[in-house]
């Protein structure tokens, strides 16, 4: 597989740039000097990256110098600390507010910057979309910034060169140009292939190409010399400069502009940036005939389409879970990858908090209906496995049940729709019972006229039906109808389902129209801006082939990806941490995206590129200027005009306001969401309902999902994400075909054996991974894998299932499954998953059905009331039998003898609430980013050597046909009597006076005895030197506050000791001898969207962690009673762990028991 970035970059400085190379003997002295300099910059193949990086700046500067033909001072980007800038203390990190978009989700961020280098992403507590937390994507985006395989400069297969010759010697100039260009390609070939023959061929091909198809441009320079320039289409892309790119692209836009953009298509990803959308609107005005194509599998197009159907163009729908008592997630992974998942996870968690059994009635209840067990399904109280195709029927059944048996009243205008609602075929018993029980539950809580049901609260409570993005608009329409019936759809807060109106919508067209336009030649010029249609588009459209028909294909992306490799011009995009921008969350919260670092490579933002594609009015004429507009001014100018519009020109954007926006990460004072409204137009859904058809012939259903790690591919070259275990299957570095055990038996496949999947005419083979909880007639596939030529990380990882997709808006299809040929090694970090906390069903240890392992402890609300001490039931030894090793010691005889006294002012401890953990994985990546945890690769993961300091253990419980999953974050427990400490022969791991189990990497000789003796298996060993030969760009991601470990030492969770020490130093400087509660936040705690992790000082009875862990507030923590749900894992070993867990309480519907 070719890796264009990795191999050919080495010759990047030999740019056949228009005007950059002078080769004739009588060229001017400036050109001569430049040519000599350029020759010196040639890096032969295999030159080190370090040297390469070092040369980047120089080459960029030289390129600029050549293009203008006069000397220009290169931009100074270094910051000499001769005078220390204000507010900047070397070594002390600074935080800047910014924001990031993931699909339809916007998160406000605070990014930690060490001496100008972003090292950690945190949530902005003021931003509604993140509320101080972030998701796994925001965490991993940091590594994407430092991806050395990112595209570094424009590339093109159109290569060109020019030379000067004395006046009148045009033929000489042409000859010299030919020679010059062919020599460049010749030298390049030598560097790439190391073969003289290949280079000679390249030279010959070049000469032939100039002869047959070279495009000549000739002219006269100001001093009268002749200029001859030639362009040819070369057989591979070659690095070039922005000037060169604009020099070729802009001239082609003029004619397009003249014809109103006939034949032009702008392919964009879904964006929530007001300024970028404003530019898109300007684009539409400038090119009224052009098409703006939306190509973004992560963008919620079904949800938007449904919202626009019911509320008119520009309508958007979003949910709010504050105080919602019954949440029905219909194929909606709102705790995983669906829209607003961070905010919703936090709001969801508020309804799941409970202290004692008396809070059980206040607990919200989550119903989940889905074909594939997701994080949301694992968090469910009641879960129904249902094929995605049947979900419209389930919703229809729910509407009918509510109308017929509970007196549900239809919202006005929906009668026509309601009359058409019917279910298809028969439900099985479980689904029937589910619908009846769910309708009764919803009616009891939310229907105003319904009689209070015995045992349920009589007061009307808030309920919400959430339909996931994977479902078609019809399902969303049914969801809107149900929410309207249940009074969940309201205009203002506290409405659980709200609608907003966007004024700045752009009329997008779909991929099908785009593909047909390319096919019939009505689209000839394609500009892909931050989108990758060659990979992301449904395979049936065959866009990778059709795109090649375009006369001009420009691609801008962070990687030279599948589309970039086809493009005539590939332009590198900046990372969001390098670019100016703005983002508006679905609920209207708006942030300015400010860069934390100057672009590492020669990149531009989408906004900057789009601005270049727009003509500028100069006098009476529209011109395309090669002068670039900086993103900062584009964004600021946009907001200046916004503020002027909003205030009817009475106010302008002051610097003070702008600075406050940047500081807070929030745009305040501008009403940007003018209209909130209710769903009122039901007719489109009636039409959809009437036209509904299901392919009953194909027996199986194939589901596509956004991958919870790499989404649709935006994180596939991110090693943190590849190595992150999938939340449920724990697969790393691959995707698989998730099927149930029953289906595996039916088809006759096992884990790792290929499954042949056929939809229509598309067929491919994907290895099977048995996923309990999957519906028996369905298979689930995730997008984002099987990338080609994007980078070494993503190469060879998984399978590109886009090939099977038929339509970008359809996430499931009927198809056929059969046993494929061959096997593929899938790697999961958790080989064994079965365990049975309640012991009802027996653990799957085959014939040896052992007593259950009391590791994960859970009960139901009713069970909690019956036995408030349920969490203590699993202990093999009662606490009074667990004697401290020093308990026999008589302190009156010798108070100090042998007794380890923890003399520190603090005693650190952690509580993890299993009721709140939704396995979003954010803590795992946050820990990786904070603590410089190494990536080991698929092979080493397969060897069981992954390095994560915190992992999320997943166990399945219950019966095989209706399993539940429980998830448990496990890091070092910091045992007070740590088994690891006494076995280390060199005392490399020892206890701190504050109760931390510290690891002295320098002292460790690597006997690994500690790891053997750790009952929680949280210690990780550096089997190799994983940090050897790290690319200098990747090295920048390392946190300077944490050691980078060498081969042969053990490492493990330190409770973020670097953060503890920073807080202690600050307290000390502040004149305090103790750190206040909340001043130390561990990385996992900080990132957690549900606040499942509480960390702090347990010696302080009033600290949050003490309150979570203990029932009373005695000053001595060892004498306090544990809180109701609090328990320790394996405390029977007398390890006395400092990390304790709060047992899970599910809230199932008693009628479904």
């Amino acid at each position: 597989m070719t890796k264009p970035n990795a191999t050919s970059n080495s010759r990047k400085t030999r740019l056949p740039v228009l005007g950059s190379a002078g080769a004739t003997p009588d060229s001017s002295s400036v050109d001569q000097e430049f040519a000599l300099g350029a020759d010196e910059l040639v890096i032969e193949g295999g030159a080190s990256r370090r040297k390469f990086i070092g040369l980047i700046g120089a080459s960029t500067a030289l390129a600029g110098l050549g293009s203008t033909g006069c000397l220009r001072k290169p931009a100074e980007n270094i910051m000499p600390f001769a005078k220390r800038p204000e507010d900047l203390i070397p070594g002390v990190p600074v935080y800047y507010a910014t924001a990031m978009q993931v699909g339809g989700t916007v998160q406000g961020l605070l990014v930690e910057s060490h001496d100008g280098r972003p090292t950690k992403v945190e949530g902005n507590p003021r931003h509604s979309g993140s509320q101080g937390a972030t998701d796994v994507f925001a965490q991993a985006s940091l590594l994407s910034l430092y991806d050395p395989e990112r595209s570094r400069q424009p590339r093109s297969a159109t290569v060109s060169a020019h030379t000067f010759a004395p006046a009148g010697q045009l033929e000489e100039a042409k000859k010299a140009t030919t020679e010059h260009l062919c020599k460049i390609l010749h030298d390049r070939s030598i560097a790439a292939t190391n073969s003289i023959d290949a280079a000679a061929q390249a030279k010959a091909r070049c000469e032939q190409a100039i002869e047959t198809s070279g495009v000549w441009e000739t002219g006269k320079a100001a001093d009268g010399r002749e200029i001859a320039a030639v362009s040819i289409d070369w057989d591979e892309q070659i690095e070039t400069t922005w000037e060169d790119a604009w020099g070729h692209i802009l001239p082609k836009l003029g004619p397009l502009h003249a014809t109103g953009g006939q034949g032009l298509a702008l392919v964009v990803a879904g964006s929530l940036s007001p300024s970028y959308r404003g530019l898109q609107q300007r684009f539409v005005r400038a090119y009224p005939q052009a098409k703006v194509v939306l190509c973004d599998p992560t963008y919620p197009i079904n949800t938007i389409r449904a919202a626009e159907m019911v509320g008119g163009e520009g309508s958007r729908v979003f949910y709010n879970l504050d105080d919602v008592k019954t949440i029905v997630a219909i194929d909606c992974d709102f705790l995983g990858v669906d829209q607003d998942h961070v905010r919703l996870a936090r709001e969801f968690s508020e309804g799941r908090k409970l202290k004692g059994p008396e809070d059980g009635d206040k607990l919200s209840r989550l119903y989940v209906v889905e074909p594939h067990l997701t994080s949301t399904g694992a968090a469910a109280d009641e879960r129904l496995r249902l094929p995605a195709t049947d979900i419209v029927d389930l919703l229809a059944g729910l509407v009918i049940e509510l109308m017929e048996n509970h007196g549900g009243r239809l919202p006005s205008g929906s009668e026509g729709f309601a009359a058409l609602i019917k279910t298809r075929g028969q439900f099985d018993d479980r689904s029937k019972r589910f619908i009846v029980a769910l309708a009764a539950d919803l009616a009891a809580k939310a229907l105003p006229d319904a009689e209070p049901v015995e045992g349920e609260a009589s007061k009307r409570q808030r309920v919400l039906i959430m339909v996931g993005e994977r479902q078609p608009p019809l399902a969303h329409g049914l969801g809107f109808l149900l929410n309207s019936m249940l009074l969940a759809a309201t205009v203002k807060p506290p409405g659980a389902m709200r609608m907003a109106h966007r004024l700045d919508t752009v009329p997008y067209v779909g991929m099908v129209e785009f593909a047909s336009g390319l096919e019939d030649g009505t689209i000839t010029h394609v500009i892909c801006l931050g989108s990758n249609p060659a990979y992301e588009a449904p395979g049936v459209l065959e866009l990778a082939t059709k795109l090649q028909k375009a006369k001009l294909l420009v691609h801008a992306g962070m990687h030279c990806d599948e589309t970039g490799q086809l493009a005539h011009w590939h332009l590198p995009l900046s990372h969001y941490l390098e670019a100016w921008g703005d983002l508006e969350a679905m609920d209207g919260t708006t942030s300015i995206v400010q860069p934390l670092i100057a672009p590492l490579f020669d990149t531009r933002s989408e906004t900057e590129i789009l601005a270049m594609l727009l003509p500028r009015l100069e006098g009476q004429e529209w011109v395309f200027s090669p002068a670039e507009l900086p993103g900062a001014s584009l964004v600021k100018d946009y907001w200046k005009s916004e503020i002027a519009n909003a205030t009817r020109e009475t106010q302008s954007l002051s610097d003070r306001v702008w600075r406050r926006w940047l500081h807070d990460g929030l745009v305040s004072g501008i009403p940007r969401s003018p209209a909130a409204m209710l769903p009122n137009n039901w007719q489109p859904f009636a039409d959809l309902m009437a036209a509904r058809k299901v392919d009953e012939d194909s027996p199986y259903e194939i589901n596509f999902h956004l991958d919870p790690k790499v989404l649709a591919g935006s994180f596939s070259n991110n090693a943190w994400m590849q190595e992150l275990p999938h939340p449920l299957s724990k697969l790393v570095w691959d995707n698989g075909a998730y099927i149930s055990a029953a289906l595996a038996v039916e088809i006759g496949v096992e884990n790792g054996q290929n499954l042949s999947i056929k939809i229509g005419e598309s067929r491919m083979e994907v290895p099977v991974w048995i996923a309990p909880g999957q519906h028996d007639k369905t298979v689930s596939l995730t997008l984002g894998y099987g990338r080609v030529g994007v980078g070494t990380v993503s190469t060879g990882a998984g399978f590109d299932v886009n090939k099977l997709r038929q339509d970008e808006a359809r996430w499931f299809a009927r198809g056929e499954l059969s046993r494929g040929s061959g096997t593929y090694a899938l790697v999961s970090t958790q080989d064994y998953g079965s365990q049975d906390p309640d012991g009802k069903h027996g653990a799957s240890f085959g014939m040896f059905n052992f007593e259950p392992r009391p590791i994960y402890r859970e009960t139901t609300v009713a069970g909690f009331k019956q036995d408030p001490d349920f969490a203590k039931r699993g202990d093999l030894m009662t606490p009074d039998r667990l004697k401290s090793p020093w308990s026999r010691h008589d302190s009156t005889v010798d108070p100090n003898f042998g007794v380890p006294i923890m003399v520190g002012p603090h005693h650190w401890g952690m509580a993890i609430d299993l009721n709140l953990c939704v396995s979003c994985n954010a803590c795992v990546v946050a820990c990786q980013a904070e603590n410089n945890i190494a990536i080991v690769g698929k092979k080493e993961c397969g060897n069981g050597r992954e390095m994560h300091w915190i992992r999320i253990d997943r166990y399945y419980t219950g019966s095989e046909d209706n399993p539940e999953a429980v998830l448990m974050p496990v890091g070092c427990m910091h045992c007070e009597t740590a088994p690891c400490e006494n076995v280390c022969p060199v005392q490399a791991t020892a206890h701190s006076p504050e109760g931390l189990n510290d690891m002295a990497y320098n002292r460790c000789i690597g006997t690994r005895y500690c790891a053997n003796n750790c009952p929680y298996k949280v210690r990780r060993f550096n089997f190799f030197n994983y940090n050897r030969n790290l690319d200098p760009v990747v090295q920048m991601v390392k946190n300077p506050d944490v050691t980078v470990r060498f081969r042969g030492v053990i490492e493990k969770c330190s409770y973020c000791v670097q953060r503890i020490n920073t807080a202690k130093i600050e307290a000390h400087l502040d004149g305090r001898d103790k750190v206040r509660d909340g001043e130390v936040i561990s990385a996992c705690q900080q990132v957690c969207p549900t606040r499942a992790i509480t960390f702090g000082d347990i010696s302080d009875p009033e600290s949050a962690v003490s309150k979570a862990k203990y029932a009373d507030n005695k000053p001595e923590y060892s004498q306090r009673q544990p809180a109701k749900r609090s328990y320790g894992v394996l405390t029977d070993l007398n390890t006395q762990p400092r990390t304790s867990y709060l047992g899970r309480v599910r809230n199932p519907n008693p009628k479904l028991a």
Binding site: V970, P985, T1007, V1049, L1130
Partner: protein, 465 residues
């Protein structure tokens, strides 16, 4: 080989003769010195392959130091693999020598004289092999000296609570005492070699090593005293070394390791494997070098009986582990043992049981225990079984412990096998060098058990001479 049903009796003591064929003192000297002075083709046939296998060891160690222990099949739950298995295996082998030389000496078991020298050499070489593994298995072997209590300005001190540190002391003490004991016993024979030396180099080398031994009565008196004292010193070490090695496991809290039966069980197992290795070595050697009259069937038979005894003890321990695991009522403990026998490593467990419990029972049959060929095969089985015992203890316990989420499977790599096989190269190379340069039988001692060494030899009724 025909089986001797009846042994000849010592005319004086009336007990079985320890040396067959009634050789004279000179015959003994000649017989023992011959392999050293005229090494035959057999020696080269043994030495060169050993050296080749030692080469495998060298390559494996080089690659290990270059790349790190990641080249082995270790993973997160299974942090100890072949290296620790090999360590315990070799330390166990190293038990027979000192047991034979020290404990049997104190108990006046005179049959030990024929085998003690080579058994002690075996001990020393086995311990050398054993010491390789804890060193090289560490992540940073170049810092292994940090486990020694060396005073330093940083006040870094080893952790005396760690069984690994006890190991360092126990094994190094054992090695030192065994080496001294062996060397002291060698002195009179080294003097014999010196006196018989035909080349200057040999004369000087043996001369220096024999410390000026002239065989005077005073020399003998000091020698006997020193030997006795060292025997007394070495005796507790035989028991302590493997007890402490077993603490590496027993002191931890892993189900399957955390077992009080380990010390006696390990010692019994060590003696078991040590005697098996003595048989493995001596049965071919006595044949090749014509020493069957000195290392007689009676010697082999005695050792086979010890193998039977210790093998049965080991079998008892296996059964008792299961009983206690069940009796404790601890689900983790119970699971660990059932998992051993029926889990993914069941094959290792049943190899172990077959080799260690079933095989020794054949020793009950007289024709087998008096057949060198049968005993040789049997000893190989015991060696294999005892290696697997350590594998079963180390790997199966680690592979599936408390949290099922961390369970994994251990698959050794080619480098694991390289180190295992290579260590045999090291062992056999050293042993070949021993045969080549040192008398493999204690000449002076064997002479002392001949009938005519008995002061009452000339008092016999038949007159004698």
């Amino acid at each position: 080989m025909a089986i001797q049903e009846r042994d000849q009796l010592d005319p004086i003591r009336g007990r079985k003769l320890l040396v067959d064929g009634g050789p004279s003192y000179h015959d003994i000297t000649e017989a023992v010195c011959k392999p050293v002075e005229q090494p035959g083709l057999a020696w080269w046939l043994a030495f060169l392959p050993s050296l080749a296998v030692l080469g495998i060891y060298g390559v494996s160690v080089f690659w290990l130091l270059w790349e790190g222990v990641g080249i082995w099949g270790l993973n997160n739950p299974i942090d100890w693999g072949f290296a620790i298995v090999n360590f315990v295996f070799w330390v166990g082998i190293g038990h027979a020598g000192t047991l034979i030389s020290a404990i049997l000496f104190l108990f006046r078991q005179q049959w030990r004289t024929a085998v003690n020298r080579s058994a002690e050499a075996m001990t020393i070489f086995a311990v050398i092999c054993a010491l390789q593994f804890p060193t090289f298995h560490t992540g940073r072997p170049w810092l292994i000296w940090w486990s020694l209590p060396l005073p330093n300005q940083m006040q870094m001190w080893p952790n005396f609570r760690s069984p690994l540190l006890w190991d360092v002391f126990a094994v190094s003490t054992y090695f030192t005492v065994s080496l001294l004991f062996w060397y002291v016993g060698l002195i009179p024979d080294l003097a014999t070699m010196r006196d018989r030396a035909t080349t200057k180099a040999r004369r000087i080398a043996y001369g220096i090593l024999s410390l000026g031994w002239r065989g005077s009565t005073r020399h003998w008196q000091h020698y006997e005293k020193a030997y006795l004292l060292l025997a007394g010193l070495a005796t507790p070490l035989v028991l302590s070394v493997h007890t402490i090695v077993s603490f590496d496991f027993a002191v931890s809290q892993l189900p399957g390791w955390h077992t009080t039966i380990f010390p006696p069980y390990f010692v019994a197992g060590a003696i078991f494997s040590g005697f098996a290795m003595v048989l493995t070595l001596l049965i071919p050697i006595r044949k090749w070098y014509g020493l069957e009259h000195i290392i007689t069937i009676k010697h082999l038979e005695n050792m086979a009986k010890i193998i039977l005894l210790t093998g049965t003890m080991v079998g008892y321990a296996y059964a008792m582990e299961f009983f206690i695991a069940w009796y404790s009522g601890n689900p983790y403990e119970t699971f660990a043992f059932v998992n051993r026998a029926f889990g993914p490593y069941y094959w290792a467990y049943w190899i172990m049981v077959t080799c260690n419990v079933v095989t020794p029972q054949f020793v009950w049959i007289k024709s087998i225990r008096r057949s060198p060929a049968a005993l040789f095969v049997l000893s190989i089985f015991v060696n294999i079984g005892m290696w697997f015992e350590r594998f079963v203890i180390t790997v199966t316990s680690l592979a599936r412990d408390f949290l099922p989420s961390s369970w994994d499977y251990y698959s050794p790599t080619i480098w694991d096998f390289g180190m295992l096989i290579g260590s045999f190269g090291l062992f056999f190379t050293l042993f070949c060098l021993f045969i080549r340069y040192l008398p493999m039988i204690a000449i002076a001692e064997i002479k002392s058990v001949l009938p005519h060494a008995n002061p009452h030899f000339s008092d016999r009724k038949d007159g004698g001479h």
